[in-house]
Subunit: 310 residues, 2 copies
């Protein structure tokens, strides 16, 4: 469940999606619960379903099964989703942060399926993430771990949506890319990016397209975002010594235009052996990582800690 | 084992030290192995000892039981310590990074003994650290995880000993405190710190002493280090959602003179619920955390991953 849509699916233990549906996210809290329930009931019809995990774009308080902060989905904050939904759907339900669910998805079925230590970074409007350490999802004491977008990489940097300054998210997210594109467009009015910006508001996909067409200013915008991303990733390599860092999210449409400089920065900022081991690559499940991961997490709803036995 | 001394001890399962010895660290690789063996043989005499964990100030390659990088103890790099020591001591031996061992010590017997999620930061000449997540030591794929001093908090900041720029270690370690003290002393020649610096080289303990005596410049040096520390800790709170962050190491002689501003910075930079849960406090085991943690880790030498069952 995100700010614009609710996606529901029935998923096999092997990660095959048997049925899927999508609803727009309604604005009012009352209709929100109703829409989630309707989406679940619609897909589960005709299948033997054991449980549901609801992955939400927001901070989860695991103990209370409650979303306590969701910048793009305020309507969901504070609603006792488990208590309200379980009677409507007739199934046990757990909550998880969407990026944590996506991390579990990439670990079980995607870019991290062959490793024990994975960092997943979702590069979208904001930056989310999650960590698998020793085949276990790092949830933290309250289920709020994995906020990888909110590490400070430039203490004096720009203000972030979270209130902090110089967060990775403030410097390398889709939002940061658009902001920087507009700045560089006005510095370089004769570039393709500059000419477009004179015409209309520049979007993230414009930057990627113009960069692919060879516009040096658009290329520089993405390379700079990649450098900032790499500064954050370097820290994650030193903290977690992972085998793989998988980068997903909408901004990964730019792929290597971002990842190449990110890798360079990691190489500059990290020492062996961690530096030489880690593979920094695109996530492979695309927008379905959250759905697949949530379904896999639903199979272990009681533990509060998710461990995959090898 | 550190750059200046080798400490060995016999420790009970409950964390009581029955016997302890210390040797100076010799400079040559040949005599190093000999000194370690002698220290172990000396303390184990008369006790029933099941195994040894050697905690080393350096990067460990766990699979090979080898130290591959140790800036203050180059002699140890590349030596097959396990293979050379086991025949000499007649006991199974494992290697661990000293900060990881200290983390396990604080988790088992110290500041983190009542929680499941702990971040330990050792504030000394450099900054080391370790993480307990879900009662498990986060070791990473190669045993090199937990390098908490080498996350970038100011991308354009001063050069770090590791080669990177703007690492937490470059801004909040004992070394950073001394450097900043000398800078501010020359800016404020009439302060107590300034007068001392005109006389002789300023040491870390001078800064703490003068700050306790009320010198505003010395207080500012420690407060600034605390702010930098807090920027790093804020990131760890967002990444790990721990119940406790325990700060130890030599520079913690300054205690609240550093921790107070660190807490303020965490409060500014982190959102609830993680922010409201985390307790940032001094580690309680002092210089013995590494010895105690290593002994506890020695009880599980075969797994490579250390989990304490609740």
């Amino acid at each position: 469940m995100g700010g614009t849509k609710i996606a529901a699916g029935v998923v096999t233990p092997e990660g095959r999606i048997l049925k899927e549906t999508r609803y727009p996210t309604p604005a009012s809290p009352g209709r929100l619960v109703e829409s989630i329930a309707r989406a679940i009931l619609e897909v589960k019809d005709g299948f033997e379903v054991g449980g549901v995990c609801l992955a939400v774009a927001g901070l989860i308080l695991a103990r209370e099964n409650k979303v306590i902060f969701s910048p793009n989905l305020h309507a969901v904050e504070g609603i006792p989703l488990k208590d309200e939904l379980e009677p409507k759907i007739g199934l046990p339900l757990t909550l998880e942060n969407d990026a944590n669910a996506a991390t579990w998805g990439e670990f079980r079925f995607g870019a991290g399926s062959e490793v024990d230590h994975l960092v997943f970074v979702a590069l979208g409007t904001g930056i989310g993430g999650g960590v698998i350490s020793h085949r276990m999802l790092v949830c933290g004491a309250q289920g709020s771990a994995g906020e990888l977008g909110h590490v400070t990489i430039q203490a004096t940097g720009p203000r972030c949506a979270c209130g902090n300054r110089g967060c990775l998210e403030a410097l390398a997210s889709g939002t940061a890319i658009r902001r920087r594109a507009r700045e560089l467009a006005s510095d370089h009015p004769n570039s393709a990016l500059g000419r477009l910006a004179a015409d209309r508001k520049v979007l993230g996909e414009d930057v990627t397209r113009l960069a692919r067409e060879g516009d040096k200013v658009a290329i520089a915008v993405l390379a700079e975002a990649g450098r900032c991303l790499g500064i954050g990733l370097a820290g994650f390599v030193n903290i977690f010594n992972p085998e793989v860092i998988a980068v997903g999210g909408g901004a990964m449409a730019a792929g290597e235009l971002i990842l190449e400089t990110a890798r360079e920065e990691v190489h500059l900022r990290v020492r062996p052996p961690s530096r030489d081991l880690v593979e920094i690559k695109e996530a492979t499940l695309g927008p379905r990582s959250g759905l697949l991961g949530a379904a896999a997490l639903a199979r272990d709803p009681s533990s509060g800690e998710y461990v995959l036995e090898s």
